[in-house]
């Protein structure tokens, strides 16, 4: 009896054709990322923790720009504003800009191997964080500590993992070479 063939848990090869993602899967992963952001981290672990929601959002904006775009990113950001009890519109604005930048750069980002994608993701996440700082400092808040620069970097380190996990259900069971 043959088990259904499952693709390996590794990055898709450049020649591999991914199936379109199912909408419920996108929603589920966004919910899980929100859950990850709401976990009660504190102290050093909080300083290290990447913004899971921004990462997953970025992945879908790059891979499925017709499902997830500026509008959805904005709504998700608003939910995050409530969850973190920050200013209304702070995450929303940052995520909307992130989604736009992802839409703008997606073709370029996808051309590179994963670790080089991660470098570009670090820049995109840093843009997002910089925007939040700008908004808050204009609103009268003090500058955050230097540890505020860590989450974009840890997020970029997590990018290959996120990519492998999120593209796994979209990978065909049998590769083109075996057909």
């Amino acid at each position: 009896m043959a088990l259904p063939k499952v693709p390996p848990l590794s990055p898709a090869r450049p020649d591999e054709i991914l199936r379109p993602a199912r909408p419920w899967f996108i929603v589920l992963t966004l919910m899980l990322a929100l859950f990850g952001n709401l976990l009660p981290f504190s102290g050093a672990s909080l300083a290290l923790r990447p913004d899971f929601l921004a990462l997953v959002l970025l992945y879908w904006c790059i891979q499925e720009p017709r499902f997830v775009g500026v509008g959805i990113a904005w709504c998700v950001g608003l939910v995050m504003d409530v969850g973190d009890a920050t200013l209304f519109g702070q995450h929303a604005l940052a995520y909307a800009v992130l989604a736009y930048a992802a839409e703008y750069f997606r073709r370029r980002v996808l051309r590179f191997p994963l670790w080089q994608q991660a470098l570009q993701v670090a820049l995109l996440l840093a843009l997002c964080a910089g925007l939040v700082i700008l908004v808050r400092v204009v609103g009268g808040a003090p500058l955050p500590r230097w540890t505020y620069a860590v989450p974009p970097l840890s997020g970029a380190l997590l990018w290959p993992v996120i990519t492998v996990v999120l593209q796994w259900p979209q990978r065909p069971a049998r590769s083109a070479a075996e057909l």
């Binding site: 909080l46 720009p65 608003l78 604005l93 609103g139």
Partner: protein
């Protein structure tokens, strides 16, 4: 990593362009930010949304709590007996003070009656537990597990066993937000316990100790002085320990002395806190133009800002 369905050519209608969408949502965000910072119009919406999000928030606590249970199950006998011994010793030490308390209270009541001073109302207190610390890097906040269900209201003082921790700033149905005294926008009216000098302790933000501002260089204050709440704001009951003076720079060339004070309470450590109800009802304020009043009370006005 290409898709089977390639992107349609640009002349196929796909709604407004991404840039137009960004401009639209960006403008809404900026409007929301403006309304929230300047006018705080959106508190009702925030309450509703926070209530909807509450189950997910609560579920996110579960992994940590489960770890805590497992951890507490494996606490060693030695740690427990050490704790027990410490607590017993504290009990005996505090027992002395408690025995003397009724006499002191009676004496105090008599003296107050003699002097015709308004008594402090024994305000109701609610014990709360910290759910999680705020994730916003720009503010110092805590979230506790009781909210309007336990009758908390915004503005109440929050203390732990050692002293003042902060102030309730937002109340949701099942939780409340506490702004810590180290937050940049938080101010606590204090009195130097030794000399009685009044001042206001301002939080300084991330990683810095709170400071006493606007103190003349010759003010009667020394390193190591304890600061207690003065109670003149009607929010914090008087006499609660707040901080201890750690650095003091008197530069006669400057207008004011630079004084920083470290909070005595475990502001970022304590798990079990006490929310104190409002202190004695203050006499009504004299009629004043609204502007003059806000200008006179920077501490209270700022403390409400988030």
């Amino acid at each position: 990593m290409r898709h089977i369905a390639a992107d349609p050519p640009a002349f196929f209608h796909r709604g407004p362009s991404p840039l137009a969408r960004l401009a639209f949502f960006g403008l809404i965000s900026i409007a929301l930010l403006f309304l929230d910072t300047r006018y705080r119009y959106l508190e009702n919406i925030r309450h509703v949304a926070a209530t909807v999000l509450y189950p997910l928030q609560r579920a996110a606590q579960l992994p940590g709590e489960a770890l805590g249970w497992v951890g507490s199950y494996f606490v060693s006998q030695r740690v427990l007996s050490e704790d027990n011994a410490t607590l017993r010793r504290q009990l005996v030490e505090q027992g002395v003070a408690v025995q003397a308390l009724p006499t002191t209270q009676q004496e105090n009541a008599r003296l107050k009656a003699l002097l015709d001073i308004r008594g402090r109302v024994g305000a109701a207190a609610t014990a709360v537990e910290v759910l999680y610390s705020g994730r916003d890097a720009f503010t110092h906040k805590l979230f506790v597990d009781r909210g309007s269900d336990a009758g908390l209201t915004a503005g109440e003082a929050v203390i732990d066993a050692e002293g003042v921790v902060g102030q309730v700033t937002r109340v949701f149905p099942y939780m409340a937000e506490v702004t810590l005294i180290t937050d940049k926008d938080q101010a606590v009216p204090v009195r130097v316990e030794r000399s009685g000098v009044r001042s206001v302790l301002f939080g300084a933000g991330a990683g810095r100790t709170p400071e006493l501002r606007f103190m003349a260089p010759n003010a009667d204050i020394r390193i190591g002085d304890r600061l207690v709440t003065s109670g003149i704001d009607g929010t914090f009951p008087q006499g609660l320990a707040v901080a201890q003076v750690t650095t003091l720079e008197r530069d006669t060339g400057q207008m004011f002395a630079r004084i920083t004070a470290r909070p005595v309470a475990g502001v970022d450590r304590s798990r079990h806190l006490l929310v104190l109800g409002r202190a004695a009802a203050l006499p009504p304020r004299p009629e004043e133009p609204a502007e003059a009043e806000t200008a006179k009370k920077p501490g209270r006005g700022k403390a409400r800002r988030g």
